[in-house]
């Protein structure tokens, strides 16, 4: 019998991801639990932290709670039903797009076209409605256009092998140009009341828009954490070649995430047209950057494989709350832009710090 080679157990160091500002040190030494595999592993004693429950978006949640708390104290109007409903309407469309963008970011890609696609689908849906098409087909067509453009993005990335940045930058220009052409840069007015009711109505006092956004987030959360497709998205983002050799259909997954991002941008466009009661050709300009910012604030990594749907939605909420609070307190909107910029830097800075800490203690 060959002799089995066996080393004394060594202590390993694990890094527990903790919310920024947490007072406890991030280092915990976990002694080797199993010396002999035959013995059942001893239950490990450990402290449950916010990071364990909420994962990487915990930092975002803390920021959100602090912001909400501060605004509640600073402004009497903040915690009123009316303002909250307003806030929800402002944030909802944004959140939907951010969640779509997140899927692409998880594969280490980027979708710069969501803002333009949103503008195109919103205006087109409005045109169709004004032309007399019934509501449901118009909506489906609007969302369908977004989906189709998303597929085109995906094919450009997987078949033409264009870098995602370039492929979707091209689409950004194309979609915006198309909507400006088809509308002649004029606002489309006269959409039916019943269409406007979709985004402006409420169920049991809760704005429809918020319900839709939460539903989208919940579905994406489920897809990412509970389905094989979701796990494949993380695998592709982590290392596409490794994933391919482990039997992951990398191209299909990649095309699918761009398709979903396009589809959600399309949905966002339809909802925006419904909320405003008009198709505005310049709607959604700059949304792509805000969506990316929301993902990053919510803990997503632009290098892929890190981030969650709840995080992305939280990120969108934080930006919405800051804007809303700024309005209530009559703070100059330009300061708010600076604040959000700083927030992005702080969020990513903390993430880098964490990564570096685990890297140095691992060596």
């Amino acid at each position: 019998m060959p002799k089995l080679i066996w080393r004394e157990p060594i202590e390993t160091t694990t890094i527990v991801n903790r919310p920024p500002g947490g007072a406890e040190p991030g280092l915990a030494t976990v002694p080797k639990a199993r010396e002999a595999p035959e013995q059942p592993a001893e239950p490990r004693r450990r402290v449950v932290t916010l990071g364990d429950i909420a994962g990487r978006e915990s930092g975002g949640l803390v920021v959100l709670l602090v912001a909400v708390g501060a605004l509640t104290l600073a402004s009497d109007e903040f915690l009123t039903a009316n303002n909250l409903a307003n806030l929800a309407r402002q944030v909802a469309i944004f959140g939907i797009i951010a969640v779509g963008e997140l899927l692409v970011i998880l594969t280490a890609g980027i979708d710069l076209s969501v803002g333009s696609v949103l503008g195109l689908t919103g205006a087109t849906t409005a045109q169709l409605l004004v032309a007399g098409m019934p509501i449901l087909p118009s909506i489906l067509l609007g969302v369908g256009i977004g989906t189709a453009l998303g597929i085109v993005n995906g094919l450009l990335v997987t078949r033409a092998l264009l870098p995602p940045f370039i492929a979707t930058l091209g689409m950004l220009g194309i979609a915006r140009g198309m909507v400006l052409l088809s509308t002649d840069a004029q606002t489309i007015q006269g959409v039916p009341e019943s269409f406007q009711a979709i985004a402006n109505g409420t169920v049991l006092g809760i704005p429809n828009l918020l319900i839709i956004a939460l539903a989208v987030t919940a579905v994406m959360w489920f897809v990412l954490t509970r389905t094989v497709f979701g796990r494949y998205i993380y695998a592709v983002g982590s290392n596409p070649e490794s994933a391919r050799l482990a039997g992951v259909p990398v191209r299909l997954v990649t095309v699918s995430v761009y398709m979903i991002s396009g589809m959600l941008a399309g949905l966002g466009g339809v909802l925006l047209a419904s909320r405003l009661g008009a198709g505005i050709p310049t709607a959604g300009t700059g949304f792509e950057l805000s969506a990316i910012a929301a993902c990053v604030i919510g803990g997503a990594s632009l290098f892929g494989a890190k981030g969650s749907a709840i995080g992305a939605f939280t990120g969108a909420l934080i930006m919405g709350v800051l804007n809303n609070g700024g309005n209530l307190l009559a703070i100059n909107a330009f300061y708010l832009q600076i604040a959000i910029g700083v927030l992005i830097l702080v969020a990513v800075g903390f993430d880098q710090l964490n990564t570096r800490r685990s890297a140095t203690s691992g060596g």
Partner: protein, 518 residues
């Protein structure tokens, strides 16, 4: 002789982990000091302390008898401590000359002095024998061995060269290329440069070393002139106990054919390859780097396109159209480059293990239930994976443990055939023995195993039969009892092999054919 560098009782801790404790190191001009030890024994930490990348917690550090108080990398370079790293530090898109003088390009008022740069670079390249390389060549077009030499040339351009640290310089090189590199090190020895040489290849230490310093678990295990050591004693010093036999027994009986490949051609006009492996059998594939071994495995696995050929798994014909098809047919491949072609670094150990089996265990697209995770955990337990928790990212593991994670990934798919490409590359001696035992056990359980390895003792120790490739064709087959010379003769096409080469050798002996694989 007086040491040029002396470290005494150096300690370094990372948080609660003591990476080095009371280690001493003496580097003497004109001597090659080999630093030996398993992964995690503290070799890298010691090197980083030496080069100033890390600050020691305690102990003394003297250069030419002068104490070094606050070492920084720049400071140590000026003091004459140079290093050649295993991960090449050259900038791939820039030219050789720019790389040689990066950071101190000859310039006048910010404009690069091209002619001066060219002539300096020429001189530096000639010094390491790269007389046929133009200084204007872009680095990424050079083969790995040449890049390694350029790296040495770069180190030698420093104003003061007292000590050169070589950190696994031959990992990416073939035998012939390594030999060339060792020649250069011998020449540097004649120039009275002190060298610290780190390698996993024990035979290299005996070839080049004058002195050996063995680390174990962060402490100094022993040191002495290399002539006092043989391979067994060195391994004992590294792992702290005797290893009777690294390789599993080879009394195996090949059962029914597990994998049969007929007339496989990877390109138009490339030679057709036939091979077969029975269940319970280990087939070794040898050959020089670039002989098409890795490519052959990738083709059988469907990851690399083929022009013609038939593949049969357990008697059933399969078309190798993609990794998914071959996976479902019962074939697994552990790739050579774990980082690039195997691991999903951000994902957890468990997620890495289950990724290939998700579809098989899934219902309606949902992730498989608890049972699959438990099965994965059991597999990892049985492979004796050492990790704090199976939920931690796989990137936190050492090389040997990462290899076990990938092995568990494929075992979970319940394969009939497992292919290993360089299974122990970058893995320390202790973990190597464990992996060999596991591979032997898998064959004993009836899997057909294919092992590609450049490390001949490993190939001969593991395999029941050895297929030798040369220039993408099968050069011959040898029994497991063959010698290293037999394999080398077949692989390089030189005379003296028992099986006559099937065709005229197209490559001169000792010269590496153009690289076709990464």
């Amino acid at each position: 002789m007086e040491p040029v560098v002396e470290l005494r009782d150096v300690s370094k801790a990372f948080g609660p982990v003591q990476a080095l404790s009371n280690v001493s190191l003496r580097l003497v001009p004109g001597q090659v000091n080999c630093l030996a030890g398993e992964n995690g024994a503290g070799k890298s930490t010691l090197i980083r302390v030496l080069t100033g990348a890390l600050r020691r917690d305690s102990g003394t550090y003297e250069i030419d008898g002068q104490p070094v108080t606050t070492p920084t990398p720049a400071h140590m370079r000026t003091a004459g401590i140079q290093a050649v790293y295993q991960e090449l530090s050259l900038l791939p898109h820039l030219s050789v000359e720019e790389n040689l003088f990066m950071g101190r390009l000859p310039a006048r008022k910010g404009i690069i002095a091209r002619t001066r740069l060219r002539s300096h670079a020429r001189k530096a390249l000639d010094e390491v024998g790269l007389t046929d390389i133009s200084p204007a060549t872009i680095v990424e077009r050079l083969p790995a061995a040449t890049r390694q030499l350029v790296e040495i040339a770069k180190v030698l351009t420093a104003d003061s060269v007292k000590v050169i640290v070589f950190d696994e310089p031959t990992t990416a090189l073939t035998e012939a290329e390594s030999e060339r590199l060792l020649q250069h090190i011998r020449r540097l020895r004649e120039r009275d440069i002190a060298m610290l040489y780190v390698t996993h290849r024990l035979e290299e230490m005996f070839e080049i070393g004058d002195w050996v310093t063995v680390l174990r678990d962060g402490g100094l295990s022993e040191e002495g002139p290399i002539s006092n050591y043989d391979e067994d004693r060195l391994i004992t010093a590294m792992v702290g106990r005797e290893i009777s036999s690294l390789y599993p027994e080879t009394h195996r009986h090949a059962g029914t054919p597990a994998l049969r490949v007929r007339g496989l051609r990877r390109f138009e006009n490339s030679p057709a390859i036939d091979l077969h492996v029975g269940s319970g059998e280990i087939l070794g594939i040898g050959g020089l780097l670039g002989s098409g071994r890795s490519g052959l495995l990738l083709s059988i696995f469907g990851a690399s396109p083929i022009v013609a050929g038939e593949v049969e798994v357990a008697g059933k014909s399969v078309k190798p159209s993609g990794p998914r098809t071959m996976m479902s047919a019962g074939v697994g491949l552990l790739t050579e480059d774990r980082k690039v072609l195997g691991l999903l670094p951000q994902l957890s150990i468990r997620e890495n293990v289950t990724i290939a089996s998700l579809r098989a265990g899934s219902r309606r697209g949902l992730l498989p239930g608890r049972e699959q995770v438990e099965e994965a955990d059991r597999l990892l337990d049985s492979l004796r994976l050492r990790a704090g928790s199976y939920a931690q990212p796989v990137s936190t593991l050492s090389g040997g443990n990462q290899q076990k994670v990938l092995l568990a990934r494929w075992l979970l798919t319940k394969p009939k055939v497992l292919m290993f490409d360089e299974p122990t590359k970058g893995i320390d001696v202790g973990a190597k023995g464990e992996l060999y035992t596991i591979i032997g056990d898998l064959a004993a359980k009836g899997l057909g195993i294919i092992v590609v390895s450049s490390y001949l003792p490993e190939l001969l120790g593991l395999a029941d039969r050895i297929l030798v490739l040369r220039d993408g064709a099968v050069a011959g087959e040898l029994p497991g009892s063959a010698t290293e010379e037999d394999v080398l003769h077949l692989a390089s096409g030189t005379a003296g092999a028992e099986t006559p080469p099937t065709r005229e050798p197209t490559v001169a002996p000792g010269v590496t054919p153009p690289t076709q694989e990464e």
